[in-house]
Amino acid sequence: MATVAASPTYAGTESGEVTGLWSWLTTVDHKRIGVLYLYTSLFFFLFGGLEAVIIRAQLAGPNKTLVSAEMYNQLFTMHGTTMVFLAIMPLSAAFFNFLIPLQIGARDVAFPRLNAFSYWVYALGGLFITFPIFFSVAPDGGWFGYAPLTTRQFSQGVNIDFWVLGLQILGISSLAAAFNFITTIINLRAPGMNLMRMPMFTWMSFVVQFLIVLAFPVITIALVFLQFDRFFGTNFYEIGAGGDPLLWQHLFWIFGHPEVYILILPAFGLVSEVLPTNSKKPLFGYPVMVYSGILIGFLGFGVWAHHMFSVGMGPIADTVFGLTTLLIAIPTGVKIFNWIFTMWGGSIRFTAAMKFAIGLVALFTIGGISGVSHASPPADLQQTDTYYIVAHFHYVLFGGSIMGIFAGIYHYFPKMFGRMMNERQGTWHFWLNFIAMNLTFFPMHFSGMLGMPRRIYTYDAGQGWDTFNFISSIGAFMLVISTSIFVWNFFRSKSHGAIAPDNPWDAATLEWSIPSPPPEYNFAEIPLVESRYPLWDLTHPERTSEIPHTHEGWEEQDKAADAKAVHIEKDRRTAAELGIPMPTPTIKPLIVAAGIIIMFSGLLFIHRPSKAIAFTLIFSGAAILVGTLYAWLLTPLEPEHH
């Protein structure tokens, strides 16, 4: 089944570079950048998982002494920070990068060099925030870093400094990418692809980019206030100076709640690609799926204080946020039903990707049910800060986001790498993962209801928590095994997997109309799109006959005089042979990213008696940043043509 014949590689660039470290450091190709995000985020996912395994080993029984209290604080802080910012978000970004231009029929994103810049800032920022744990000075204030605990007075060391600066760096990466993808989706769609013909993954990603644009600046300011308090002695979180003890919490959660929708919507989008393909039916209720995604994004800005029900905001605030939280369950529930109705009456093909997609539908629903129970302020007063909450968010993040991302990886691996993943190993991975995930997190509903608090490094026996914790830890070790199967499958298939056809799943959208992996220019000829399921119009017209095919919204067809109808491409000629100008690879985005990291590192030394180190780093970083940025902006993207 597996062949070692000439495996498809990425098409060469104009300079002839196809392989080698330099080609990866200088790439501005969205497909390569997507693969870079995938590798780096998988690494951080495993690292965050390791932190979780140590936590579960420590909590497997009462009064264990595997790690100290302080190290435990670092572990749960970094587990959360790693999984949210260095694993799930960048895993989603891997798909944004690889998939969005292909799904909308474009050759690349709007700003390819800015795209590379986003990746390098993430990679270097991830290292910045992770390496302190090897010196036992990792951030230790929780992934949400509540002030005043994280002010200089109560957290003297560099731990929180790394956290604050690291998150600022990572925020730059996400914001730059959001500007890029908003522009790409608005402006670079193939002729005929109006918004209501876009694939669901692109739609959900579009909503996510707006959430990033609006939410990240708020945490930027929250972090700026904390930075200024810690480094410059300001009073934002100083209670003695009249500072509000809730300011941090409000600012953080105004970001933090949209953030969790940033984490789940891309996975929802991937499921909306996998389910219809493997049910051989169009997505049920496409417009409603779009509107509910938009509504989730919009309402997501109105629920933040449900994270603060126990701080004493008063009955009016509690009630309002309780109501909005209940409300947001509605569009989410609608999606669940639409996925079920998509499968109903379809011809189901249980690929590994499909199993993970269905897994998300089931497990996210469980997480959603506990979530609805948190929406009631009096109920939440018992639940908050217990393991019941930990159960909820792991069901939605692991059972939701991670499952959806695995579905996406199995589904799109052939397109990305030109080879198939092993289906049997995928099945083992799925079932072990499914069982292990439930073993790990379901007991937490019970230990939480029995009062086990969050963020405790150990507990006494005899409180009714011992068995549940033990089962959770068994589940966690089982997750190590199931994840190892996946990692083995992933890397083995890259070199030994069966050569993938262009459309192994007989799917409907544009990315499947080009070779696997795609040539550097994506489409030899940009297609003219006339429906939501362009390939099924060619190959299975009976499936889409009930969906309206209109020319509505496409008035300027004369602009697309050159665009060809949707067609299958098998072309493997180079861009040069086809006369398609390609962007020039460049190291400048990486250098600018490095300049930013150097600048931020300078602040770590600002409290030394001699400011020399701090100022040297800040000014040299700024010089590198500004100088290379000028060179970048004054260099054309492509070699001169026409």
Binding site: T183, L188, I221, F232, L247, A561
Partner: protein, 227 residues
Amino acid sequence: MSASPALDHIEAGAHGHHYTTTGLDSRKIAIWAFIGSECMLFASLISTYLIYKGRSVVGPFPHEVCNPPACATTLNPILNIPVTSASTFVLLMSSLCMVLALAAVENRNLPKHTFGDRLLGSSKLWLWATCLLGAMFLGFQAYEFTSFVHEGLSIRTNLFGSSFFTLTGFHGAHVTAGVIWLGTLLAIDYKRGLEPADAINVDIAALYWHFVDVVWIAIFTLIYLIK
């Protein structure tokens, strides 16, 4: 520089620009997305200032007299409305000059018959004017900051100092970045001249500059004018 190379190969309309779905240059859409994020940035800073208004434990205060024990000696309200009104006017005029600079670049190739036409049509003149007025605004800010520090208000003194200096400092940093950006455009104008094809670059700089001005109008109204 190609506007959107990703959709090369499709012939566009009359302008000969590369094809885009909206017909707009991608950079214009990107700058608006960027401005959207900046709105949330300044909204957070302004909201914090407003939340902390009247809650400083010690003085000086923006609009109220500060008596012992909140201050060592009696201090007057520290904000100087007349002076800040002048700097606001300067910044507003700089936006006018920015509009004229953009028009000059767009209309570079139109015939100019009178001295007035040539004056209005000089992109270098209006770019200089915008830069200088922007720099003058920054001068006013520097003057205000140093005089406040002399009067006993630093970023560390109280909640008012922290929130005021952070907010206006961030705004000033944005103005500074804008002045550098415009200075770069000016340098390019000297080096090779800014042609109508460059208008998009001047346009996005102008959008940024106007945004920074609008933020200042909000700050001036909410912090200086409303007591």
